[in-house]
């Protein structure tokens, strides 16, 4: 469970990226974070990843106030989450398989665990046959599938996706969203920041909307509205 309590983030220039934000996300939920560029979506994700600190307020994840967390605890905290980005962020000199295995090496998994888990996850995202291709040999959609596999391989309880379809065509985007949706059905909490209107409208999930740093809408089974 994720709780944001009166969270504000002011950058050094005095502008609020987020102002007095309050919301709760239950385990297993699927939530869209929407809003125009600069509305505060990325700031929200950075706060959740503990890449930056809020200026005021508290953030609770599974009952723990992460703003009070010690620096050396951060890596272990991050292992509870999988993250995918608009630009995929794969390592170009590693194959799809190696990119996913890398995430397991980092957390100290054994060779046997890696050999069992990596093909399974690649199969889950539909990339079993391209495991030994390098990122430049894969299409955008396939690269994002690798990124998804990497995010999932350590069995996180939360999947965070920052504009996961930003670089993809509409058909591929729907493919990726279908996979994310399937992951959610297996019990993982999912948070997708996006401004892909058609996707949000098609999926009818919970929508949290921001405008200039202020939470302006929190709606069950919502759509994507440009205006309020």
């Amino acid at each position: 469970m994720i709780v944001f309590q009166n969270v504000s983030k002011m950058y050094v220039n005095g502008v609020y990226a987020l102002y007095n934000v309050n919301f709760e996300i239950e385990n297993g939920e699927f939530v869209f974070i929407v809003g125009a560029s600069g509305a505060g979506k990325t700031t929200l994700i950075k706060l959740l990843l503990k890449e930056i600190e809020p200026t005021s307020g508290s953030i609770f994840v599974d009952g723990v106030d992460i703003t009070a967390m010690k620096r050396r605890e951060i890596p272990y905290y991050r292992r509870k989450m999988g993250v995918v980005f608009q630009d995929f962020r794969l390592l170009p000199d590693k194959t799809a398989y190696e990119n996913v295995a890398f995430a397991m090496e980092i957390v100290g998994a054994s060779g046997r665990e890696i050999r069992r888990q990596v093909p399974a996850v690649l199969g889950l995202v539909g990339l079993g046959s391209k495991a030994h291709d390098y990122p430049h040999q894969l299409s955008g959609g396939e690269q994002q599938r690798v990124a998804l596999a990497r995010a999932l391989v350590n069995n996180p309880s939360l999947l965070i996706a920052d504009e996961p379809t930003g670089n993809l065509d509409p058909v591929t985007s729907m493919d990726i969203m279908r996979i994310i949706s399937m992951i959610n059905k297996r019990g993982t909490t999912v948070m997708v920041a996006t401004h892909a209107k058609n996707i949000v409208n098609a999926m009818r999930k919970r929508v949290i909307q921001f405008n200039k740093g202020i939470l302006v809408r929190d709606q069950r089974e919502g759509g994507y509205f440009d205006e309020l």
Partner: protein, 302 residues
């Protein structure tokens, strides 16, 4: 951390070096130069130490007594000097003993001294004082000079004293130069490691998101610095050994010409090689690790 992770660190450390070959070469050169100077200074210091030790064992002051000195005065002086700090031994040499010794030294020509025995012996009574360390010489000479019964003093320890002073000077001066060169080496290596950190910043970023600990990210870079330092140390030791070999070969010539001095004997290679290698390795590895730590410190904040 598990054994598996160490395989990962070491593999990545070596990959880092191979990716930035030119900078790696520059780093190795920098640390090699610094350690080469260190090695030379060590070699000189080791040799000087032994040299000073040899001279110290030969350090003596001879004091000649005035003819009118009584036996009672003589004993007082002897007991007095024996109690001074730095005096290792004091031996009385009577004028008769001195004459006998001289005669023996002259060998065949000993009969030249025939007319000088007994009443006619021109040599004075004397004391031979053996000194523990060259530092004491000046002081003891001063005090001996103040004794009224002393006619003349003879001491040849200035060379030993100079070498002792020189050895200390070389050590201080050498430490200074090595320190400066070490700082230069740290800067060059930290730049090299910074470049590999920079070229791998995307990877580091991804690692942070996946939940890699700081130490997991740091180790490959520390190993990179360590390996650069180690290679530099190995090469510099080879250079020092080469130069020292040359010095030993040349010193044969010195031995023939001034061998009788018996102090310009260089230590054998096996006494030099191991300590130089060990010390160079230690310094090289420390410098490498330090440099790596400096350059990754600020890149870990994600």
């Amino acid at each position: 951390m598990s054994f598996r992770s160490w395989g990962f660190y070491i593999r990545n450390g070596f990959q880092n070096i191979l990716r930035n070959r030119v900078m790696a070469l520059a780093s190795i050169t920098a640390i090699m130069v610094a350690l080469f100077v260190l090695g030379l200074i060590l070699v000189i210091a080791f040799n000087l130490d032994v040299m000073v030790e040899n001279m110290e064992s030969k350090m003596e002051i001879t004091i000649y007594l005035k003819d009118e000195t009584t036996e009672e005065q003589r004993l007082t002086i002897e007991n007095n000097i024996r109690s001074w700090e730095g005096v290792y031994e004091i031996v009385f040499v009577s004028k008769q003993e001195a004459l006998d010794k001289w005669r023996t030294e002259l060998g065949d020509k000993g009969k030249l001294l025939e007319g000088y025995s007994g009443e006619n012996n021109p040599l004075p009574d004397s004391f031979l004082i053996k000194i523990q360390k060259p530092e004491y010489v000046e002081d003891i000479v001063e005090r001996v000079r103040a004794i009224p019964a002393v006619d003349d003093i003879n001491y040849s320890s200035r060379v030993a004293e100079f070498i002792g002073w020189f050895a200390r000077g070389i050590r201080i001066f050498g430490a200074l130069i090595v320190a400066i060169l070490a700082v230069v080496a740290v800067i060059v290596i930290s730049n090299t490691v910074r470049l590999t950190v920079y070229s791998r910043r995307k990877e580091i970023n991804i690692m942070k998101y996946i939940g890699a600990t700081d130490w997991f990210i740091r180790w490959p870079f520390i190993i990179e610095g360590m390996v650069l330092g180690m290679i530099g140390a190995l090469l510099s030791t080879c250079l020092v050994v080469g130069v020292y070999k040359l010095m030993i070969d040349r010193s044969g010539y010195i031995d023939v010409k001034w061998g009788y001095l018996g102090i310009f004997k260089l230590l054998p290679m096996d006494k030099i090689m191991f300590p130089v290698l060990v010390i160079s390795m230690m310094v090289g590895v420390c410098v490498g690790i330090m440099a790596s730590c400096i350059s990754i410190r600020k890149h870990l904040k994600v």
